[in-house]
């Protein structure tokens, strides 16, 4: 009997069953992506937004800026032109604009509000700097003091850098655990497991097909996450990111084992999926999938060390964004593999063919 043909037929049957189950596709692909868009898209643009400036009439100071200064100015201000001072001030008052500027002789007058104190400070500081700079330029003397700024790359990562590995870990954990739990329980309920036992197919082939499909789904999740993160949200992957692939493979096996345990314990398919959920969702919170645990109490961080998802997330952060070498994933992989073996053995001990 050709084990390969049986493997292919079983894998195809499982893939079709998965793709036709809208809930599975939603929860393993769409749902985590919604979180990525939420975190990456909304929280990612927390940097200072532009100041809306209304320029009333001719303002020589602004109109005659050289191109370099103009570019710097446009980084801070979004300029809109108007000829009606009263209307422009009213706009500022309503909050539709942040500042209105006019020239009175040689004086640049800025109308602003203190509603947003940060913006008010930025506006005043920036306009003062422009006026001072123009004065210095007009005097013909080179400036005596020069300020140079150098940005220091800080330890805390930008939102998207931090959020992508964590959410990917959660997505992989969820679909691997749910897939295994629902398959085991569903196939047991319909006696399909028994039926397969009576077909000339080895248990190895059946397990291999299910594992192959789950690994395929996990790698597709990874490709979509990294692709979308890089293309749309400015995710930058560090040099050894590819080591996250074997890490995700071992992580998937680990969470399949957890799903198997849930499937072996539960008596209904719904029960199995709920059991997987009860394990995976709190684990995702405690493993830093949604937010950084650096600010969490020490005991909580200690708890998170015994959770396999924490190790998956940390390993991915190390190689994908923190720029550590390929060997950084070895310890997490070993931890996940150990979990997988222990939990699988437990599931095999608990498993019963009959549900009643």
């Amino acid at each position: 009997m050709s084990g390969l043909a049986a493997f292919r037929a079983l894998s195809l049957a499982i893939v079709r069953g998965f793709l036709r189950d809208r809930a599975s596709v939603f929860f393993s692909l769409v749902f985590p992506l919604m979180f990525l868009v939420l975190f990456g898209g909304l929280l990612g643009s927390q940097g200072q937004s532009e100041v809306d400036l209304v320029q009333v009439g001719e303002v020589a100071l602004l109109d005659e800026m050289d191109p370099d200064t103009r570019a710097a100015f446009d980084d801070t201000f979004a300029v809109e032109r108007s000829d009606d001072l009263a209307e422009a001030v009213a706009e500022v008052r309503r909050g539709d604009a942040d500042v209105a500027v006019e020239m009175r002789g040689d004086t640049l007058v800025a109308h602003y509000t203190e509603t947003d104190q940060v913006k008010a400070a930025v506006t005043q500081g920036a306009l003062r700097a422009f006026v001072d700079g123009t004065n210095v330029a007009q005097s013909g003397e080179p400036p005596r003091f020069v300020l140079e700024t150098e940005r220091v790359e800080d330890e805390s990562l930008e939102t998207i850098q931090f959020v992508t590995p964590g959410l990917l870990g959660w997505a992989v954990a969820m679909s691997a655990a749910f897939g295994a739990a629902a398959t085991l329980q569903g196939w047991r309920q319909t006696k399909l497991l028994r039926r397969l036992q009576l077909a000339p197919v080895s248990t190895r082939t059946v397990v291999a097909a299910r594992v192959a499909v789950t690994l395929g789904i996990a790698l597709v999740q990874m490709a979509i996450f990294l692709g979308l993160g890089t293309a749309a949200f400015g995710l930058t992957l560090a040099g050894s990111w590819w080591m996250a692939v074997p890490l995700v493979v071992v992580g998937t096996l680990c969470f399949m084992a957890i799903g198997l345990l849930a499937g072996a314990l539960a008596r209904t398919t719904e029960g199995a999926v709920n059991a997987a959920n009860i394990v995976v969702l709190p684990m995702a919170f405690l493993s830093g999938s949604f937010f950084d645990l650096d600010g969490a109490p020490a005991w909580l961080r200690a708890v998170s060390q015994v959770l396999p998802l924490k190790h998956l997330n940390e390993g991915m952060l190390d190689v994908m964004v923190r720029g550590e070498g390929p060997s950084a994933v070895l310890v997490p992989m070993a931890v996940l593999a150990a979990f997988a073996v222990v939990v699988t053995l437990a599931a095999a001990r608990i498993f019963r063919w009959e549900t009643t």
């Binding site: 036709r20 009576l198 000339p200």
Partner: protein, 317 residues
């Protein structure tokens, strides 16, 4: 009772042994305190269509699962097609086909994908699956997902999946359970044809009429034991139950009826006078002589009477 262990030895008409498709000896299986299968011995010859008949909880499915090799018996042996079934023997599996009680399908596959998947598991060309879909009349449902099939259609697909690799021996566990009468008859036509090529069929059911119509021999099972195993006709004969002859109203008075030869008893009913006799031929001949045959109805004992006689009439949940 055939013998103490409710065993049945198989002999052909010349009295010689027939090669057995299934040999079960002293088989036993308990779940805790419950003896699901309690010392069953039986043989099924090649090409036979055998029914296992019994009330719910009689141990039919457990017996079948032991014979299929799905469970390890507490005691006793099972040989199928000359091979022991336990432990699981991958060389034996392509020679047997099984339909389990539940509809064991891959979720969300269409009818065609389903049978093609099973064909691949048995290393059989997909075209064979298509042939079986035609044979069970599911061609126009080929692109319907299994969740969208009616009960009868699902059973037919399930039977097609069990037979796609053309097994020598096939087990069908309550294939007509939960079907409406039309779907049941419809399925009988299909089932009656599946052993025409010399295939051995073992079927469990709790419908007497089904066993009577389809099976060469029937094993009546209750409380884990095979109470009797024989052809349906021999089982009915062995019951020694009287026939009931109903004569239309106005043809016969009750005292006349009681005076007829071979009549043991007579009672009035709405349909007329009912005569109870063990020699219906003689009674009917007499009625013919007296020209009282109009509207006469003769009812002999059925398998149902045998079944109730053997298993008792008390209500079971």
């Amino acid at each position: 009772m055939a013998d103490r262990r409710s065993g049945v030895r198989l002999v052909d008409r010349r009295g010689g042994r027939v090669s057995a498709a299934i040999e079960v000896v002293d088989l036993a299986l308990s779940y805790g305190e419950v003896r699901a299968v309690d010392g069953v011995s039986l043989e099924v010859a090649e090409g036979e269509f055998v029914g296992v008949l019994g009330p719910n909880g009689a141990g039919k499915t457990s017996l079948l699962e032991l014979v299929e090799g799905l469970r390890r018996p507490d005691a006793g042996t099972v040989r199928v097609l000359g091979q022991p079934v336990w432990p699981r023997d991958p060389r034996l599996l392509p020679r047997i086909g099984v339909q389990l009680q539940a509809s064991s399908f891959f979720e969300r596959l269409t009818t065609r994908e389903q049978i093609h998947t099973f064909a691949s598991l048995y290393g059989v060309a997909p075209a064979r699956g298509d042939e079986w879909l035609e044979r069970v009349g599911l061609v126009d449902k080929a692109d319907t997902r299994v969740e969208g099939l009616s009960g009868g259609q699902a059973q037919r697909l399930s039977i097609a999946c069990a037979l796609v690799h053309d097994p020598e021996l096939v087990f069908l566990d309550e294939p007509t359970a939960a079907l409406d009468p039309q779907a049941r008859r419809n399925l009988w036509d299909l089932l009656a044809g599946i052993n025409d090529s010399g295939r051995t069929v073992v079927l469990t059911t709790h419908y007497m009429d089904e066993a009577e119509v389809l099976c060469d021999r029937v094993a009546v099972m209750d409380a884990g034991r095979v109470l009797r195993m024989d052809t349906p006709a021999a089982l009915v004969r062995g019951l020694d139950a009287p026939a009931r002859i109903t004569v239309a109203p106005g043809q016969l008075r009750l005292d006349e009826a009681r005076a007829l030869p071979a009549v043991e008893d007579a009672v009035e009913s709405l349909d007329g006078v009912v005569l109870v006799t063990r020699d219906p031929a003689r009674v009917v001949a007499r009625l013919a002589e007296d020209d009282r045959l109009d509207g006469v109805r003769v009812q002999t004992a059925t398998l149902e009477d045998v079944f109730l006689d053997l298993t008792g009439r008390e209500y079971r949940a």
